[in-house]
């Protein structure tokens, strides 16, 4: 594989950009060519957001992943995971998804219905090879801060063995990004994510 394409999907405010930055920085430290593209601005106000992250050896790739070519999808929200999979997924795509829903405006005002979680699971299955569910809200609460759900998910991806990056590298990156109590809660969140995935990761490693 000449390039590893990772899509991170979620809702503005969930920390998509931070998750992308942590993985990207870890990859740079391990000598990968990295290009990443984030959604900023108007979209961050509770809108659908997406980051593209591409790791390559040799020459760098452009910042955007072509449709149907995601190898990994890190889903911070189930509905948004389905949305990006329908565009970027394929039968080989591996998916890690936070199961906590976040309701869009149309659902809140009663103009639309949030799909049943089983329907979303089925849709994820139709556009991927492997799906792993992570209760990131529960683990983030355990880590002491609900806003660390993105770091829990990053930890889960790091612990899955799907990324060619070492856990120690991630922890060094976290230490360079945060200080004091914030670093402590992020490290806890990251490690809980890793631990949540470790057994399942061994199971799918043979896939």
């Amino acid at each position: 594989m000449s390039v590893l394409n990772i899509v991170i999907a979620g809702v503005g405010g969930q920390g998509n950009v931070m998750a992308c930055q942590i993985i990207g920085m870890a990859a740079v430290e391990e000598g990968w060519q990295v290009s990443a593209a984030d959604t900023f601005g108007v979209s961050q106000r509770g809108g659908a957001v997406m980051s593209h992250l591409r790791l390559a050896r040799g020459r760098p790739y452009g910042p955007l992943i072509p449709a149907g070519e995601a190898h990994l999808v890190l889903g911070l929200e189930p509905l948004e995971t389905v949305r990006v999979l329908r565009r970027y997924g394929n039968q080989q795509t591996r998916v890690m998804v936070n199961t906590r829903p976040n309701y869009p405006l149309a659902v809140l005002c009663g103009a639309a219905v949030y799909p049943d979680l089983n329907v979303l699971r089925e849709a994820i299955g139709a556009h991927s090879a492997v799906m792993v569910e992570v209760p990131a809200d529960r683990l983030a609460a355990e880590a002491g801060n609900l806003v660390t759900q993105n770091v829990v998910m990053t930890g889960a991806l790091a612990g899955s063995g799907w990324l060619p990056l070492r856990l120690a590298t991630f922890e060094r990156v976290l230490a360079s990004l945060f200080k004091g109590a914030v670093l402590e809660s992020n490290l806890r969140a990251f490690r809980l994510g890793v631990a949540a995935l470790a057994p399942e990761a061994t199971a799918v490693a043979g896939v």
Binding site: P66, E80, C109
Partner: protein
């Protein structure tokens, strides 16, 4: 030296720092704000938020006149505001390098249009450089200062959202000295710097001559690079399109243009002579394509690649297949039209929305209640246009709201109407139209939604926030004082999360026949982070009337067929409790 992952904006700031920029000014507009936010962190650089882009370019021009390298940065439409200043600096030139960064937004991720600012380079007769990734963003910005001084011209550097907000690897370099060199006495040269007609007439031929010299210099510059591959296909491209095209056509020959104005005409002709077919791949307008045609180079561009939106490698590949440049079926298109496995449910769309607890919601709820026509402006509050609030009816550009409202009023429209503008937007372009309303005896009501920060672009300070870009305390210019100073007599301040007070004041202002202004003041919840105990709904008292759903606040959800409040999302603003007729909503003890 080490390598670092940087966004294009970080790399532009780093390049400016390496280029020994001393003074920088900007108004934050997506996708550009991170340039100044990064630049201010470097030693030996003075950087400030200006109230608008025109002021930013004037400040940078002044510094460059005085002999310091200077930079101004803005989003694409910001250059419309700053255009007057761009044009005079083109005529005057400067004593030290002046670089203006324009960040275009193809696909309008966060903008009102997708104008192509390459036209400004041609229009103002100044050079423009266009990097393709972060390392070039650094190099080109640094180089732009040298070009500016060598040719006595402001230099435009054009980024786009996918350059500014994409991250790639940048090579770190030796830091320059942070010590400011002593300035010579101010150089008084009125023939060069006082653009009265007689002097401007002398300057114009110099500008024309300058363009010729720049074109000759760009011919030999290595950032305009021929990369020979298979001569069957020659691709002329620049900016982010280069990356997409390189991915799709690994074998083809490329002319990668680092300077998009003026063009290295001879190099283009040479490239065209070495390949069988020339194809231009550029986002937005056929800017390069038209110039190639003008110099007699036969080429294809917009017949194959769209004029709308932004590119990605998948789209470029599909267009190339449809246009017969490469073999195979257009895969993305096939994927899009092929029956994707059907979903057992519709996927509801997720547009951006006002945050939980956002105080703008309170004012829009009241305006909706009075069925007022709302002439709007640019900021987070533009989201008030979306359902269920539906309380904003125009939005054109920064500062347009007040003038448009005055025009609606002078046209004799009898509907209740108000102008709604944010605090940062008010300082940007809201004051001259405010003066117009008073001066021309209008009766417009202006509502300034003052959340104490430039929220939408990521919480940048402004003249009313009490802090500078460097986070130093400074004067806090009160909007109500500005309104009174220009002659508004009816001025009130209200907290828009106080429903009854807001309703009463808005009613009073709508009924008055004089110019009036309301400052609706409540700090942005994301910035102030005043999280209080969440609220809850008593299912016994709730009769499911649906009123609370009309404010479109994310924590108010349906759970088991009833209204409920998501305790994790609610920040405890209490607005919903005030509008609930059944008193069913209370704060968690």
């Amino acid at each position: 030296m080490e390598k670092k992952l940087m966004s294009g904006n970080e790399a532009i700031a780093y390049g400016a720092y390496l280029g020994r920029v001393r003074v920088a000014a900007a108004y934050p507009g997506t996708p550009s704000p991170e340039i100044l936010e990064n630049l201010v962190t470097y030693p030996g650089v003075y950087a400030e938020w200006a109230p608008n882009e025109k002021v930013a370019v004037d400040v940078a021009a002044g510094a460059a006149y005085a002999g310091r390298r200077a930079l101004a940065a803005m989003k694409h439409v910001g250059l419309n505001v700053a255009a007057d200043s761009l044009f005079y600096t083109s005529y005057t030139g400067m004593q030290a390098g002046l670089v203006i960064i324009t960040c275009d937004d193809p696909a309008m991720h966060s903008s009102q249009n997708e104008q192509d600012n390459r036209h400004y380079a041609r229009f103002a007769k100044v050079p423009m450089l266009e990097p393709s990734y972060s390392e070039e963003a650094k190099q080109f910005t640094k180089l732009a200062f040298d070009i500016s001084e060598a040719f006595d011209t402001p230099v435009l550097v054009r980024s786009t959202t996918r350059i500014s907000h994409s991250e790639s690897i940048v090579q770190m370099e030796e830091p320059p000295s942070p010590t400011w060199e002593e300035l010579p006495p101010y150089k008084r040269d009125p023939v060069k710097y006082v653009m009265v007609p007689a002097n401007a007439r002398r300057r114009h031929p110099i500008i024309e001559e300058r363009l010729g010299k720049l074109a000759a210099y760009f011919e030999g510059l290595d950032i305009n690079r021929i990369e020979m591959g298979d001569p069957a296909l020659g691709i002329v491209t620049s900016g982010v399109s280069y990356q997409h095209a390189r991915e799709v056509f690994p074998e083809a020959s490329f002319l990668k243009l680092g300077t998009v104005w003026p063009l290295p005409v001879n190099k283009i002709r040479e490239f065209a002579s070495r390949v069988k077919r020339v194809v231009v791949i550029e986002e937005l307008d056929p800017f390069l394509e038209e110039q190639l045609r003008l110099i007699g180079v036969e080429c294809t561009g917009k017949k194959i690649f769209p004029i709308l939106g932004e590119f990605n490698s998948g789209l470029v590949r599909d267009c190339a297949r449809r246009g017969g440049l490469i073999a195979g079926e257009a895969a993305q298109e096939a994927a899009a039209t092929a029956p994707s496995p059907p979903l057992a449910a519709e996927l509801p769309p997720r547009p951006p929305m006002l945050c939980p607890g956002c105080a703008h919601r309170g004012m829009f709820y009241v305006l909706q209640h009075y069925k007022a026509v709302v002439l709007g402006d640019i900021g987070c509050y533009t989201l008030g246009a979306a359902p269920p609030l539906l309380a904003l009816h125009t939005c054109g550009c920064m500062g347009a709201s007040i003038g448009v409202a005055h025009g609606v009023d002078k046209a004799g429209c009898k509907d209740r109407k108000v102008a709604v503008i944010g605090d940062s937007t008010f300082f940007h372009a809201g004051i001259p139209p405010l003066i117009d309303v008073v001066y021309n005896k209008g009766a417009t009501t202006v509502i300034v939604l003052d959340n104490r920060i430039t929220a939408m672009t990521g919480h940048q300070d402004h003249p009313g926030s009490g802090r500078t870009l460097a986070k130093e305390p400074t004067v806090d210019i009160k909007i109500e004082d500005v309104a009174r100073a220009v002659g508004f007599q009816k001025v009130d301040v209200v907290d828009p999360l106080d429903f009854k007070a807001t309703r009463a004041i808005v009613k009073e202002h709508l009924e008055s026949n004089e110019p009036s202004l309301i400052v609706a003041r409540h700090p942005c919840v994301l910035y102030a982070r005043e999280f209080k105990k969440p609220y809850q709904i008593d299912p016994e008292k709730c009769n499911d009337c649906g009123i609370c759903r009309r404010i479109g606040c994310a924590p108010l959800i349906r759970a088991d067929g009833k209204m409920a409040i998501d305790q994790l999302l609610c920040i405890g603003c209490g607005f919903c409790a005030q509008i609930c007729g059944r008193k069913a909503i209370t704060q968690v003890a």
